[in-house]
Symmetry: C2
């Protein structure tokens, strides 16, 4: 980056412009792979700053990558072509609730957990709850359209965003949507920008919608002797008439990783467990779990353990939260996949992953949001062993191909980022990718907004597991 | 249209190409205003036919307007620049349910009511329920992102579409989304195309998601002595902790129109009534309505009448369904508006509409989806009286301006179509409209997909109340 440009940035934001190599290095990674050093980092604190930076970036064709807490598992915020990183993590100044309108307005650096807390203090709920909610920012959730366990009943981030303030590639400030849940005036830019991974515009404010907080929850753990039956149970529960608020699955490996890590008295022998939460009026919850039990007994599933109190319920959800840390703690590198399939095909997907695990002799843990068909086959691997990495590449490719074959998708909630872009054409076809690129070119003709994401670059055919 | 082109169409679909003036005339209107005669009409029955027609249209730059049952209130399907109308109403051949995946696949001509019936036969529910559901087609619902009373709890059409098959402006067939609820692979074309009023692509198939059908419903009618308190009650109910599945309002005029029309023993003196439905487990519904009653009594509202049986409940919802027919039957032309405001501003909007009614001496009936802030101020007017039409124009303009001032929108569920395009800039600003137009130009560079919709044409400043 030219010195004169850096000077211009520095004049604007002073010491919030970081140019030292140590600082820049620490902005070069996220929760996925690869390390890319940006030319500079701007810790932005206002729409005006973002606007002015975009004007300069437009003029000099400088890549701009927005970044929150960088918990991304798909490489979303990585500055793969250098340029400037906009660090939004400091800009947490706006967190306003309007309880009578059931909405909240937030700046991009607000922590998702703080949004939950404020909503709950007003007896309201912001349902999206990615596992990283205690550290991630809403800006990152918006960029990647983050999900979480409550997706099965309530939907994902996009379903709770009704308005945005954005800065365009050429530095214009626009508002999309508004403060109403219903809005059909023009194209739905809000839902186009959310989940576009920072490639179409930079988000500087969001209006979120809230719902009344359910008065209670109740959780059951269902224990399975075989994985196929566990898969079949998912559709069975979802067609029983009950709408679970969470429905998560852990396979045998995931159970044992958690048990090794935290010793929570889990059934180590089980092929899988499913955790089901129902929410709403306390009088109905017991009845709803009985309906679930009855539906399951029709397919021979009898081992259903309902948490007897809040403490036990909290312990069960702790199990789910601990899967990722447990896998990480086992030492090797964790590669989290995100393949998502139609509900009735979950048993097939489980069977396939089991085959792949054996075929490539890999350590694969499967868990995920069962009620959405959103599985996280997670591979523990030694990145220093090129032969093993090769097997990982092939295994992941087979998982992707099979998910697509089943009518599913590469990514349910993590995004494409750098990690999966080589596979985009396989899901959408050349013409589908071209249709998407036409939108990208129209809104960012100089390709300065988070370049190198979503769309494969020439010749890219593989997962980005190494930065070389 | 050149004879050779007509011949080409005819060779493809034979007698399903309509070219006689009588036929063409009957395809020139919808539920709004204006009459525009297309050059021809193709009753399409397959993706291949649509694809071939789009190729020819692209080659000859012929405007293409997709059309379902044409119940649109905003002019969406009107062929304002002539060209070819694609009549999808005959193509109702695909109506497939996959209960274990909680999805349905439908061709564009399927009647929305048939989707409801099939879902319910499997103890499932497709929540979007526009008032015209007994006659409208899913294709039209998709184009305009139709809403309906259940929006308050479940959302609108877009929230239940997870995949599309589309034909692009240059005749390519693409699939967007898929068969999974979660999908963050690339840009969300599904949610961009739904609600884009046929201006970005032609939809040839949709995959809809379904949810378990709630086991029961219960309805209360709340009677108000003043409209302002009725408005205030809306936020009060929605923050009581209960999530109503429907919440509709009728003002004094609406009540009396229905009473004149159908004699349903409504409280003619009331300033307004609100109908509230809750759904779910029967044991909880009574309790929930008591919570609503308690919340309302805190602001002095005491007249809450809970329907004692299914018959009475059906009668109450009949009241809501009859507002439009009652207004139509009163003889003059009905102009239905669709302004939507944040929940806490509904009382202000009611007050403003009352002022406008007096100021312009107009017959305005107000009803609508109270729980979404989505009001339908509906004007009865004599279109042959130019002086009155002038007053209507001014009144509607004031309603729009005030909705925008309150943080609301021009249209909550009817769409922009021809009717409201002159006001688009007011809501989005010039730069916001330009951003949207960039998408339109990128995906339809020759402007052949439903031209003359959404975006104002040069010099357009008014409602399209007359085609002159």
């Amino acid at each position: 980056m030219e010195h004169v440009v850096l000077k211009e940035f520095e004049n604007m934001i002073g010491s919030r412009l970081l140019t030292e190599i140590d600082d820049r290095t620490s902005y070069g990674y996220d929760g996925s792979f690869g390390q890319y050093i940006p030319d500079c980092v701007a810790q932005v604190m206002s729409t005006e700053e973002v606007q002015r930076i975009m004007e300069i970036a437009d003029q000099h064709e400088i890549p701009v990558c927005a970044r929150g807490a960088s918990t991304s598992l798909s490489g979303g915020p990585l500055p793969v072509h250098g340029g400037i990183v906009l660090d939004f993590s400091q800009w947490d100044t706006k967190l306003e609730i309007y309880p009578d309108d059931l909405i909240m307005k937030v700046s991009p650096g607000v922590r998702t957990g703080d949004i939950h807390e404020l909503a709950e203090a007003h007896n309201l709920m912001y349902p999206p709850d990615p596992s990283s909610s205690s550290i991630c920012t809403i800006g990152g959730n918006l960029a990647e359209n983050a999900g979480g366990p409550r997706g099965v009943k309530y939907g994902v981030t996009k379903d709770f965003v009704i308005g945005l303030e954005i800065v365009t590639a050429d530095g214009k400030v626009l508002r999309t949507g508004g403060s109403t849940v219903k809005n059909v005036t023009g194209y739905d830019l809000t839902k186009l920008i959310v989940g576009s991974e920072g490639t179409l515009a930079v988000i500087t404010e969001a209006t979120l919608r809230l719902i009344p907080k359910p008065s209670d929850t109740r959780t059951a753990m269902i224990i399975f002797e075989d994985l196929y039956t566990a898969g079949k149970s998912i559709s069975k529960i979802l067609t029983s008439g009950v709408r679970p608020s969470k429905m998560e699955i852990l396979d045998h490996n995931a159970i044992n990783k958690v048990e090794d890590y935290a010793g929570l008295d889990l059934p180590r022998e089980a092929a899988a467990i499913i955790l089901v939460e129902v929410d709403g009026d306390p009088d109905v919850l017991v009845k709803e779990l009985r309906i679930v039990e009855k539906a399951l007994s029709e397919i021979g599933v009898e081992n259903v353990q309902v948490a007897s109190d809040k403490e036990e319920e909290a312990r069960l959800w702790q199990v789910r939260k601990l899967v990722s840390p447990a896998v990480v703690s086992s030492g090797y590198t964790k590669i989290s996949e995100d393949a998502t399939v139609p509900l009735s095909r979950i048993p097939d997907m489980f069977r396939k992953i089991d085959e792949i695990k054996k075929k490539y002799d890999l350590n694969i843990v499967v868990f995920g949001h069962a009620g959405d068909g959103n599985l996280h086959p997670t591979i523990n691997t030694n990145m220093r062993d090129p032969e093993e990495v090769e097997r990982v590449e092939q295994a992941v490719e087979e998982i992707f191909n099979y998910a697509i074959e089943l009518g599913g998708t590469l990514s349910g909630e993590h995004g494409i980022g750098t990690m999966k872009k080589a596979f985009l054409v396989r899901e959408m076809g050349e013409e589908g990718v071209e249709f998407q690129k036409a939108i990208k070119r129209a809104l960012d003709p100089k390709n300065i907004l988070n370049p190198g994401k979503i769309f494969p670059e020439k010749g890219e055919k593989r997962l980005v597991l190494r930065n070389d």
